[in-house]
């Protein structure tokens, strides 16, 4: 299911943000919501249901994986998620896609060039 045809579609903002959160750390659900909110200055605020709708899909597509048993004193209901290699690739592809789009905008002088 992790073929390019899925990944080549632009990812939704929420999904992209979730993947970004997991790039450098494994996080549980609530932590993902917090991380996204912090990074985007509360611009992207996930609800529990949107988060898990996305998580389910990402799991189905094999873009993220579940990490069992982090530490003993943690809430047993909490599950941690990590990026799979194809997830990392999908996030990168999306970032590259965005960069390509930004480059196009720059070429048309819609955006200033980077120093």
């Amino acid at each position: 299911m992790t073929d390019k045809s899925v990944v080549a579609q632009p990812l939704s903002t929420q999904v992209f943000q979730i993947l970004l959160s997991l790039v450098d750390q494994d996080l549980h659900g609530y932590a993902i919501i917090q991380d996204v909110a912090e990074r985007t200055d509360d611009e992207v605020r996930l609800t529990a249901s949107t988060l898990y709708a996305a998580v389910k899909r990402l799991l189905d597509q094999g873009l993220i994986d579940e990490v069992r048993s982090r530490s003993r004193d943690d809430d047993p209901r909490r599950r941690y998620y990590r990026l799979t290699p194809s997830g990392r690739k999908a996030a990168r592809d999306e970032a590259l896609r965005l960069e390509r789009l930004a480059a196009m905008a720059r070429a048309k002088r819609l955006l200033p060039s980077p120093r």
């Binding site: 609530y30 609800t47 249901s49 209901r77």
Partner: protein, 883 residues
């Protein structure tokens, strides 16, 4: 709370597969979010967060199911339904589609259902608030009404008692804390612009503590306030605080002039507290002096008790029996033949209206049942037409249960939509009921509202009726062999016909019962309207005034000035209007034939009047003379009515016999001869016998505090009333004028409760009649269509058009006959519950029963004529060719 709601939503909206994997975690994360939102912006934040979650949940619900189905379809492997909700969604979607396809049917069904459910919602709102909700007092189930009643009485009634008895009960009782009140005081508040007329209740024995309602501001009244030396205080109701003082919190502690006395407001009660009945603007402590505290012949205190912890009503009753035995020994004259009655407070408040409301509730329930039968009938017909569709579905592998569920879902959906519209209709209907003041005579009317319990009731009723009429077609369809459906075309089977006949019979029976109930009420109402009230109410205006200070010159001056108004024929003043109740009473004592010492005289109502009273309201003189200017305090005389003569002087001439009113040591006047006998008036309501009444000249009782003015006039009353107001103002600008109404209005308000239940039941019965007749009509029309071929053959073979007509008609009448028979039995069983609402006729009144039967037969014949006529016009050639 929010987390629990969220968990419920997750469980409800999301498919099982998703929930197995994620529900716990989802809720855990939500719990964290909830906590954060709560920390940030409190409870509002938490709810906002919850609402924010809903779109996401719905989206998951739909998307997960869709992918699930496509996956399943691809797999082809049969799987069990993953949960009930899934198939429900599917059924509902299908039901919506199928109902939308037959829009006409849907609109008719939803419309009639909405009417039925709406009527039920409105009447249930009334029943719910008046009969079912607990009283708005602290721990109301432990509150009791305590009163005196005659041992000989056949029905229990809680009557008021005297201060002496009350304080005896209060000090003797170990099981109850007792308090007492005397309601309905007119109080005038002056010093704040226009004088304000307020209604007040006198509180005695620390009743506020017994009721246990906390004040909104300040404090309530205590026993200490009742000391004759204590500073005068009062407590305001929320409503009066709002109306008169604009919710000014600073009024607590301030003094205002009430009936000429400066009293301090010590507290404001919360909204909704209007004990003992709305409207009540203020409560003030009764400061009875030592002599009055032991008075045993002034019966004016209503007593309320609260059971102490551990005590029961049975123990309280036993205890009060003991108290009464002792009091009878100590005070035989006052207590002989009496007992103390202890009843739940709620029962005494709602007692009078219970049967009236239950009859109405029963009536609307019947209307709904008839509606159900009718829609059931439509659905059976529709199902017959859908047999081919169902058979195809079944041939493609749908199980019996699945199809039945599909059909029931359809009808429940229909009913719930009908219920939704019904709530709106019910709301409007309730508003109409309240605005039309048909509920004016109900207790607790201020509490009537469409609350969540009513909504729950409506939802329950909707689902129930949906199941009820949904089961009928479902039952049929699932019993058909599907191959028949494919073969046979769209003709109904014999079994369908049987069900439809039964439904119509039931409809007619229910309509018959309802019509009988309405007919009985209508007839007793008509009888009641024909009762001679004893007064001539046309062209008599009345207004009430309150005299604050004794002023012997006031009444003569007032009458003189009023008489001068152009158009006025005569003017009089009375302590109480006729037909508006018994009023104040006192012991009636014959001086020429005193009672033995241990027998208590009975109290009779009296009215204080000016000489022209009888002429003004139209009460005829039957014997003796009217009052005149010579009847003074020094030489009193009284006039009595015929009912009093019948009771006290059955075979004697009452004229000239000396009597006094009151207790031996507390007389209204020492002795007065009866100088006249007048006709009776129905003061206790038109349905009740006239009460014995004594009339006393105003000159004898000059200090009476409040009066009604009655004015017989020519022309219309409006200019007369306006002039009368001006005259009163000119004599005393501070005098409040209340209750301006015509005597005809006074009389008509006496029949108001009977009128509104008759009207409502009449409307419901009318709806029932129309619905049932439509049912008969629909069924016969359908039959004619079904039997077109057979009828065509008959016509072809030479049947006369009368013969064909008779065939159809007889069928209709057979159904109606069966319905009538069934309805007759039902009506005979049910109408006896209406006994207490009837006047002058028995619940089995033959005229009503026969009349209703004839009405139904006529209506059914009329409804059958149309299909019967159509049957005669069947063209045999066409009929034979179409099949």
């Amino acid at each position: 709370m929010t987390v629990r709601v969220y968990r419920a939503l997750v469980w409800l909206l999301l498919p099982t597969g998703f929930n197995d994997a994620f529900a716990d975690e989802l809720v855990a994360v939500y719990t964290d979010l909830d906590r954060a939102a709560r920390a940030r912006s409190g409870r509002v934040g938490a709810w906002r967060a919850l609402i924010g979650e809903i779109p996401g949940l719905v989206r998951i619900g739909f998307r997960e199911r869709r992918t699930h189905r496509t996956v399943r379809a691809r797999r082809v492997a049969p799987r069990l339904e993953d949960n009930v909700f899934d198939s429900l969604v599917q059924d509902a979607t299908f039901a919506v589609r199928s109902l939308r396809r037959s829009l006409g049917f849907t609109i008719v069904a939803v419309g009639t259902l909405a009417l039925g459910i709406g009527a039920n919602t409105a009447i249930f709102s009334v029943v719910n608030s008046v009969l079912l909700s607990p009283l708005k007092l602290h721990d109301p189930d432990r509150l009791l009404a305590v009163g005196e009643d005659s041992k000989a009485a056949t029905t229990v009634s809680v009557r008021s008692t005297s201060p002496g008895s009350f304080f005896d009960w209060k000090t003797s009782s170990q099981t109850m804390d007792l308090g007492a009140y005397d309601a309905g005081y007119s109080r005038t508040l002056t010093g704040r612009g226009e004088p304000q007329q307020l209604v007040g209740t006198q509180i005695i024995g620390g009743l506020m503590d017994v009721l246990g309602v906390r004040p909104l501001l300040g404090r309530t009244l205590t026993v200490a306030d009742e000391n004759p030396g204590a500073p005068p205080v009062f407590v305001l109701s929320f409503d009066a605080w709002h109306r008169v003082f604009g919710e000014d919190r600073d009024v607590v502690g301030k003094a205002f002039t009430i009936n000429g006395v400066s009293r301090t407001i010590v507290g404001v009660m919360p909204a909704g507290f209007t004990f003992p009945a709305a409207p009540n603007d203020l409560w003030f402590p009764g400061q009875l002096d030592a002599a009055f505290r032991v008075n045993r012949d002034q019966y004016f205190l209503s007593v309320v008790g609260r059971l102490r912890p551990g005590a029961t009503i049975e123990r309280a009753r036993l205890e009060m029996n003991g108290v009464m035995d002792r009091l009878t020994r100590d005070w035989p004259k006052f207590n002989q033949g009496n007992r103390i009655v202890v009843q739940p407070l709620r029962d005494t408040i709602i007692g009078g209206v219970q049967s009236r409301l239950f009859v109405l509730m029963g009536a609307v329930a019947f209307v709904l049942l008839i509606t159900c039968a009718n829609i059931g009938n439509l659905l059976v017909a529709r199902a017959a037409a859908r047999r081919r569709e169902i058979s195809v579905r079944r041939a493609l592998g749908a199980g019996t249960g699945r199809i039945a569920r599909q059909l029931i879902t359809e009808s429940v959906l229909l009913a719930v939509v009908g219920g939704g519209v019904g709530v709106a209709i019910g709301k409007g209907f309730l508003k109409l009921l309240l605005a039309g003041q048909v509920t004016t005579n109900l207790p607790r009317v201020e509490e009537i509202a469409l609350d969540s319990r009513v909504l729950l009731f409506t939802l329950g009723v909707s689902v129930f009726v949906g199941l009820l009429f949904g089961c009928m077609p479902a039952w049929h369809l699932t019993r058909d062999r599907f191959s028949d459906g494919l073969r046979e075309g769209t003709r109904g089977s014999a079994r369908h016909q049987w069900t439809r006949n039964t439904l119509v019979v039931v409809e007619v029976a229910l309509a018959m019962i309802l019509l009988t109930g309405a007919g009985l009420l209508l007839r007793s109402f008509a009888l009641m309207e024909r009762v001679d009230t004893g007064v001539k109410p046309d062209q008599v205006a009345t207004l009430s005034i309150l005299k604050r200070k004794p002023d012997p010159a006031f009444v003569p001056a007032l009458i003189e000035r009023l008489r001068g108004i152009p158009g006025v024929q005569s003017v009089a003043i009375t302590s109480m209007l006729p037909i508006s109740g018994r009023g104040i009473g006192a012991w009636f004592n014959r001086i020429d034939r005193p009672l033995p010492d241990n027998v208590q005289p009975s109290g009779e109502g009296y009215r204080v009047i000016t000489p022209e009273y009888f002429a003004t309201v139209g009460i005829p003189l039957k014997a003796g003379r009217m009052f005149d200017a010579n009847d003074r305090r020094e030489a009193p005389a009284i006039i009595v009515n015929e009912a009093l003569v019948k009771k006290y002087y059955p075979n004697e001439n009452p004229l000239g016999k000396p009597v006094y009113l009151g207790a031996p040591d507390n007389r209204l006047f020492d002795s007065a001869p009866i100088v006249g006998v007048v006709g009776d008036t129905r003061d206790a309501g038109l349905g009740n016998d006239p009460l014995p009444t004594v009339f006393i000249p105003i000159a004898v009782m000059r200090n009476w505090p409040f009066y009604s003015i009655v004015i017989r006039h020519s022309g219309s009353s409006a200019p007369i009333v306006a002039s009368a107001r001006r005259v009163v103002r000119e004599i005393d600008p501070t005098m409040p004028i209340t209750n301006v109404q015509t005597l005809a209005e006074v009389v008509s308000s006496a029949t108001a409760p009977a009128r509104w239940s008759t009207t409502l039941l009449g409307v419901f019965a009318g709806v029932a009649l129309i619905t049932a007749i439509l049912g008969v009509f629909g069924l016969l029309s359908y039959t004619v269509t079904q039997r077109a071929r057979e009828l065509g053959i008959r016509i072809a073979l030479g049947a006369s058009s009368q013969g064909v007509q008779r065939l159809v008609l007889s069928r209709g009448l057979l159904l109606v006959g069966a319905g009538l028979a069934l309805g007759l039995v039902g009506a005979l069983l049910l109408t006896r519950f209406m006994q207490s609402l009837l006047y002058g006729i028995a619940p089995t009144d033959p005229i009503t029963f026969i009349g209703v039967g004839v009405l139904l037969v006529l209506a059914a014949t009329a409804a059958s004529m149309i299909p019967a006529r159509r049957a005669t016009r069947i063209d045999p050639i066409v009929a034979l060719r179409t099949e």
